[in-house]
């Protein structure tokens, strides 16, 4: 496993390369930005649900799912939403763990934004939910880009789980990743 880049950086410029991102809750006025990634099959390719087909559809999703969600944030670059990240806590005796998912507008891929957003989300979640011990995320076996993002963000690869999740009508092989509250501190 490669060295976590949050350890001592090899050079002073290392940090300058990571984009400045902020996380904030969504509101309905974000529907236009939301459509940018939610309607893009390149982004929704590895999601449970397919692309949003209309602004009406996106608005409904924001109202019914995003706004009432326990933890759903817009990933913003220079104040503009370019993606989303959310954490779903476990119920009852499983509330010590939460699962994270994210998506990013296609034109912003390859700049470290998802990695930065994950780090920021993990930091916030560990602070907001002090009883949290385990954060987990899955990436489909056929989605190495997302696997790399999780690894760069400090998640530990636990292993492939065969036919674990039903996505887009078929059972899929996924890789399970975890990050423990008691693990190495993230900067």
């Amino acid at each position: 496993m490669q060295t976590d880049s949050s350890a001592v950086p090899p050079n002073h410029d290392h940090r300058k390369q990571e984009p400045e991102i902020t996380l904030r809750p969504f509101d309905l006025s974000d529907v236009g930005a939301f459509m940018t990634w939610a309607s893009d099959p390149r982004v929704t390719r590895f999601q449970r649900r397919g692309p949003c087909t209309s602004e009406e559809d996106a608005r409904r999703y924001l109202t019914d799912h995003v706004l009432p969600h326990p933890w759903y944030r817009a990933i913003c670059v220079d104040g503009s939403p370019v993606g989303s990240i959310n954490a779903k806590p476990g119920q009852g005796e499983e509330r010590f763990k939460a699962s994270i998912a994210y998506r990013l507008a296609y034109q912003h891929w390859g700049r470290g934004i998802a990695t930065a957003a994950l780090r920021a989300a993990v930091s916030s979640l560990l602070e907001e939910w002090p009883h949290l011990e385990r954060l987990e995320a899955i990436a489909e076996v056929e989605n190495p880009a997302s696997q790399r993002v999780l690894e760069k963000a400090g998640f530990l690869r636990e292993g492939p789980l065969r036919k674990y999740v039903m996505l887009r009508g078929k059972s899929r092989d996924v890789v399970m990743y975890s990050l423990l509250a008691t693990g190495p501190k993230l900067r």
Binding site: R134, L156, E158, G159, L161, R162, Y164, M166
Partner: protein
């Protein structure tokens, strides 16, 4: 049949015992099974790796049976051929939400009946039954605590494949534990 070539050694007898596959049957529980249920549900040696607390009284056992066992989607008493009384339990719980293709198996056997292959036989029989009864089922999985070598061996002998160690995956007795995930796919189920 035994061949009488003088006195069999203890090792040979042990091997013979292990080779004998126990005849077990699986059937639904009734509340009148509470006495059998108590033999493992009140025993820390069996319950220490369970998510459920060890029961201490018959009333607690009855409550547990009424609230959790009777309404369960698939829970069976493990009975051995010479006695109608259950010696253990095996249950298969469907995964939540959209994952209709997946279910998890759990089991427990009374301590006095350990070492006879009963749990292994029950898990195999349960796997076979649910793959048959639930045509959409593709994946049967099970988690066992890293140090629960007895249960892990049962799963391995029943043909489950070890997939991953999931850290701090479950809270057992107030402590978060590392669990090993095992899986049996309908595609490579031994019973097909």
């Amino acid at each position: 049949m035994d061949q009488h070539m003088g006195v069999a050694s203890k090792e040979e007898e042990d091997r013979e015992e292990k080779r004998t596959v126990p005849e077990i049957t699986l059937r639904p529980f009734t509340l009148s099974d509470v006495d059998g249920f108590m033999t493992w549900a009140t025993d820390d040696r069996v319950m220490r790796f369970s998510r459920r607390p060890t029961c201490t009284t018959k009333d607690e056992c009855l409550t547990h049976m009424k609230d959790l066992i009777m309404p369960h989607p698939w829970c069976r008493a493990i009975c051995i051929e010479d006695d109608g009384r259950p010696v253990g339990l095996v249950s298969v719980t469907p995964a939540p939400g959209a994952d209709v293709h997946r279910a998890s198996i759990g089991f427990g056997v009374a301590y006095d009946y350990w070492g006879r292959g009963i749990a292994t036989a029950a898990v195999k029989k349960a796997a076979s039954a649910v793959f048959e009864e639930w045509p959409l089922l593709e994946r049967l999985d099970a988690i066992a605590e890293v140090n629960n070598t007895a249960s892990r061996r049962v799963l391995e002998k029943a043909g489950f494949q070890r997939e991953a160690v999931l850290k701090s995956y479950l809270v057992l007795r107030g402590e978060s534990m590392d669990m090993v995930m095992y899986c049996l796919l309908s595609a490579d189920s031994m019973v097909r």
